[in-house]
Structure formats: C-alpha cells, structure tokens
Subunit: 347 residues, 2 copies
C-alpha cells in the first residue's frame, strides 16, 4: 500500500506518530521518547484506533524499559510495571492496549534470565513483532472481507478503522485498499462520526488521498442512504469483542447496526483476534469510557451549544451480537453462534 | 410563556426576527422591510421552522403589498403574484410557506372590490391572524401532547420545533412549556441535529433558557440512551405531513423513528394542521431540499473534512407512517390509519 502519510514509525530510539488531532488540515508528526509521552498521546487521541493504540503502547513499554534503572532487576521490573499500569489507564475500552502491554510484560518475564540490556532488546523485538503482525493481520482481514462483497458494491463505514487506526491498511478499510490492488470496484460512504468526527477528519481523508470513491454523510443520514438502496454492506472496526460476540466500537455503531437490521443489510465487524476478549462474557462487562462535555459543545475552539448545557458523551457503545452478520478476523470469518465459534479461533 | 427572546415580531412597518444563525452565542435581531429581505432570511435560515417560515412569509407578502404600485389594481396584483412566487421558492420542503402565501393571495382576491390601501390593510390583518392562530395552535398541540405523557417522563426530540420555530411555545416543545406551567415534571433529551446543529444551537438554548431539564446528545447517541431505558417517548415537529401520514421533517428524524420502533418507544409527530398536505398522497410526493456540501464540511468558518470530499446533504427525510404512533394536531390526536383519519380533520 502506497500512501502519502504514515500512522506510526519506530526509529529504534523514538516513536513517531502523525498527530491525528490536526487532520485533515495539517499533516504533522510528533516524536515521543518516553512512555509518559506515549500515554499522553493516547489520552489526547493524537493516536487512536484500537490496533494503533496497541502498537503505540508496546513501543511505550520499550521506551519505559530504556529509561528504567538498569542497575538491578527488581528496580527495572518495578519501573516496567509502573509504566504498564500508567499506559493501560490512558483509554479503558480498547482491549488491544491492555493486550499489548501484557504481551510486553510477559516478554520481560520470559527474558528474566538475561541481562537488562538483553531484556530491553527482547522487548523491542516483541514490539516490532506486534507492529509487523498488525500489518499482516490487516491484509488478511481485507482478504476475508473481500469474499463477502462483489464488484461494484458500496460499503458504509463508521468512525475510522483505517490505515490511521492501525499500522497500515486498517481493519474495516483494508477491504477498499485490497480491492484497489486487485482492480475490484468498491465505493464507500463514511459517517462523519460525531462528536470527534473521525469519519470526516480521518476516514474521508485517507480514502480520498488513496483514490477510493468516498461520500461523506452525517451520522443521521445513514437511514436515508440505506432506504435508497445505496448500501450493500456495513463494515466497521471494533475496540473489543466479548466472548458472546457483543462488540464495543465507536459511539454510533449500535445505531447503524439497528438501521442495517431494519433494512436487511449485512453488518460486518472487522476484528483482529487481539481485539477479541474471551474474558468478557458479554458487552455488559466492557467498560465504556465517558469523555468530556467539551467534545459535544465545542468544535475545536468554536462553541456550538449554549454555555451550561448538560450533555451525555459515551465514547463507545455496544452492538449486540444479534445485530452482527459476521465477525471477520485474520484467521477467518466467524458466524453465529459466536460463543461457540469465537472460542474456536483460540484453540 | 415568559421568555428572554422573541422569534418574530411585526411592528406594523417591518418584521423583526431573531437571527437564528447567530445562536446560541449571540442574541441579535434583524429588521426586514421588503419581501426580498424576508425571502433571503428564509433562504439563509435566519428564520427557520415550518410555522415560523409561514408567518414570516405572510408578513413578506404584506411588505410586498405595501411596496407594490398602488396606481392600478392589475399592476398591484402582478407585484403580489411575483412576490408570492419568489417567497415560495426560498425553501421547497415546508408546506406552511406555500400555505401562508396562498392564504394571503386568496385574501387579496377576496378583497378585490376594495381600494388598494384597504386591500393592504386586509392583508396585514390576515398575516396578524396567521401569527395569532399559530400561538393558539401551539398551546393546543401542547395540551394534546400532555395527555400522552405522565409526570416524570423523559422525551427525546430532534432538531428544533420550539418557540424559535414558531411564534411562541413551539409545536413539539410546547409540551415542556405547558408542563412547566402546570407543575408537571418532564425531562428532555435533545439530538444535536447535524449538519446545522439546530438541536445544540436552538433547542438546547431555548429549553435551558426557559428552565427545562435538558441533556444534549449527538444524533448517534440516541440508540444508547433508548437502550438504557431513559426515553419514554419521542416527539418531533414536521415540515409536511402527506395524506397517508408519511412525514417530512429534519434529516435524521427517519433514523430516530427506526430506533424508536426497535425499542418499542412511542414516536409522536407534533403537526399544526397547516402542515398537513392532503394534496401529497405519500412521502414520495414531498420534494426534499438538498443543501450545500459546506454544511457538512465546515462548522461556520472552520473546516472539518478534507478539501474536495464528496458529500450528500439532504435537508429533510421522510418518516413512513408505519413508524408514527400518533400525529398530534391542535384539533386532536390522530391515530392510524392516517389516510382515513387525517382527512377527517378537514371536514
């Protein structure tokens, strides 16, 4: 995939990120050289998207290891563990963050017999591996999604589960890039995705820049385009999939799933297996982050609602398994009943 | 109803309007003394809301009559007729605009035997009557809506069908103001209503300023609050009701109606009878205005989507009659089958 920007890059000494809060107006990169800076970038959504957050957190752990006291192993491990809990707190809903941090902690434990510089080296290799795996996972998800579509189809997506949410390709959006490589014509409709407008700012930006035919709509226009017969399938990413198939994703996904059900349109979740959390029995167990009122009342520095207005701003919602036609992973397409079929992926 | 602002006021010489494009930040009034200025204010949504547009257009006709050549009747009538077609074109979806202009034209015709100054006087009386009737219609709609709710209920509304959309009270929002007068406790959730944010800018503003307990959400959060059991009923206004009950209203209303149906929540349309258009057989006959791409890609002067992005921006959608629990008019509550029951209102 050739693109004019990159989402994240590891130099060996620092993590470089495109600052997603400045898109689509400005393409600018930030350089992070501490785990605190990584955590801060996650918290302020300079990097977002469950897979990208996971990769960033893995490099955050490497930066923590490099800055940790290298004199004795117990101080070193205490520093790592502190960094881990700091990073995990930056966003509660995405399971990849937790998963990546745990994977680095396990690596540190497995490398216990080594000297500290060698442990750091092993951690760096593990983070790079997570990064590489993500790229391959996305291509495989795209290949699997393509089997569910036909030439000429139009797909509605919500939020941004694209190149900007991952290492490259994206999860939900990988299908557009792979279709392009194969000469299959797919069109996209992108929900703008209030309140943070990831659809308008990010999905519209990356699809447009990469030559995909994309039409931007407001979230509340999805019913009309569906009723007009314009949408053949809905494909969205996810922040966490529970064992029963209930799926947490950006606020508004649940809404779209009800519309898709109403119109009989297939509704697919693009889910890398690290996003599947078998420890969560159902959606009721997934913590939903509530974010600042400012996201609703202000657009950047511009006020769009009266001072003093009360708001409700959940960052995610849970789409019940019953609304999901299939969960598409890098290991294959999973159909209901999900409780039975999702667990098989991990056997 | 006591409020800190007025929507429109006729001085006898000019029409004063609150400039709704400046809300909620600035309360400022504009003075219009020609029908062209009125048409322009409607086109640019300085005044909006089907009933308010109708009243404004009626005064626009009075201003046209005052400016028309008073020398001979045929020139006078030609000028009136030209003003009428100019005004009607300013927004195609709301039927009240057409209805009010036609009512003024009929009045002019009925006054044919009078001298021109007396015709102008009769037109002014007719416009004032439309204005007064609207206030009474809104109170009656509110009274009827109240019979469908109980103390402690929470109502979701979309767009602005409030005091700012009418002479006073509003259609959908009248229920909150009447409840307040009667000591009945009702809470409101307001959809922000992209792209023009009438929910955030206008509904949140007027309910908050009038002491109603209101929570602002993004359009795509309605499913979550419904799933949480927070919503007892949905009440929205309308721009045109067809003979079969299909209802055109602000974009996103159709979306909410599908959600309400999914969750088994009653969905009510607040409809002054001038908004009911028996000449439209069904929603398919209602013209839907498409507005500028800028409304989606910019918030005021602030760009939120990439340059060159394609958009789709219908200003209204049509909620099928099957999704509507009842249509609440000033003459009573109308239940399905609408084709039969709506026509009875006009017998």
């Amino acid at each position: 995939m050739k693109q004019e920007f990159f989402t994240l890059r590891w130099t060996g000494a620092e993590l470089q990120l495109i600052d997603q809060t400045l898109l689509p107006g400005t393409i600018a990169y930030i350089e992070l050289n501490s785990y605190e800076a990584v955590s801060d970038a996650i918290l302020h959504m300079k990097v977002r998207g469950a897979p990208a957050i996971g990769i960033a957190a893995a490099y955050g752990m490497v930066l923590a290891a490099k800055a940790a006291p290298a004199t004795d192993l117990s101080s070193f491990r205490a520093a790592l563990s502190q960094a881990a809990s700091h990073l995990v707190k930056s966003r509660p809903t995405a399971v990849n963050l937790h998963w990546a941090v745990e994977r680095l902690l396990s690596q540190a434990e497995a490398s216990d017999a080594l000297a500290i510089p060698d442990i750091i080296h092993a951690l760096e290799q593990e983070a790079v591996l997570i990064h590489d795996e993500d790229r391959q996972i996305n291509r495989a998800i795209g290949e699997n999604l393509l089997t569910l579509l036909k030439d000429g189809d139009t797909v509605l997506t919500h939020c941004n589960a694209g190149a900007l949410a991952t290492s490259e390709y994206g999860t939900a959006l990988s299908v557009f890039y792979l279709a392009q490589e194969k000469g299959i014509r797919l069109k996209a409709y992108a929900d703008e995705t209030r309140p943070r407008l990831q659809g308008a700012r990010l999905t519209a930006f990356e699809l447009l820049h990469n030559g995909v035919d994309v039409t931007l709509i407001c979230d509340n226009m999805a019913a009309v385009v569906m009723a007009q017969g314009k949408i053949d399938a809905v494909i969205v990413g996810c922040d966490r999939v529970a064992a029963n198939g209930d799926t947490a994703n950006k606020i508004g996904t649940f809404n779209v799933s009800i519309l898709a059900k109403h119109f009989g349109i297939p509704f697919y979740i693009a889910a890398p297996t690290p996003t599947i959390d078998l420890c969560c029995t159902s959606g009721a167990d997934i913590p939903i982050e509530e974010r600042s009122s400012r996201e609703i009342t202000m657009i950047d520095q511009h006020r769009i609602a009266p001072e003093g207005i009360k708001t409700y701003n959940p960052a995610f919602d849970v789409t019940p398994a019953a609304h999901i036609t299939a969960i598409v992973t890098e290991k294959g397409i999973v159909y209901p009943p999900y409780t039975e079929h999702l667990s098989k992926l991990f056997e």
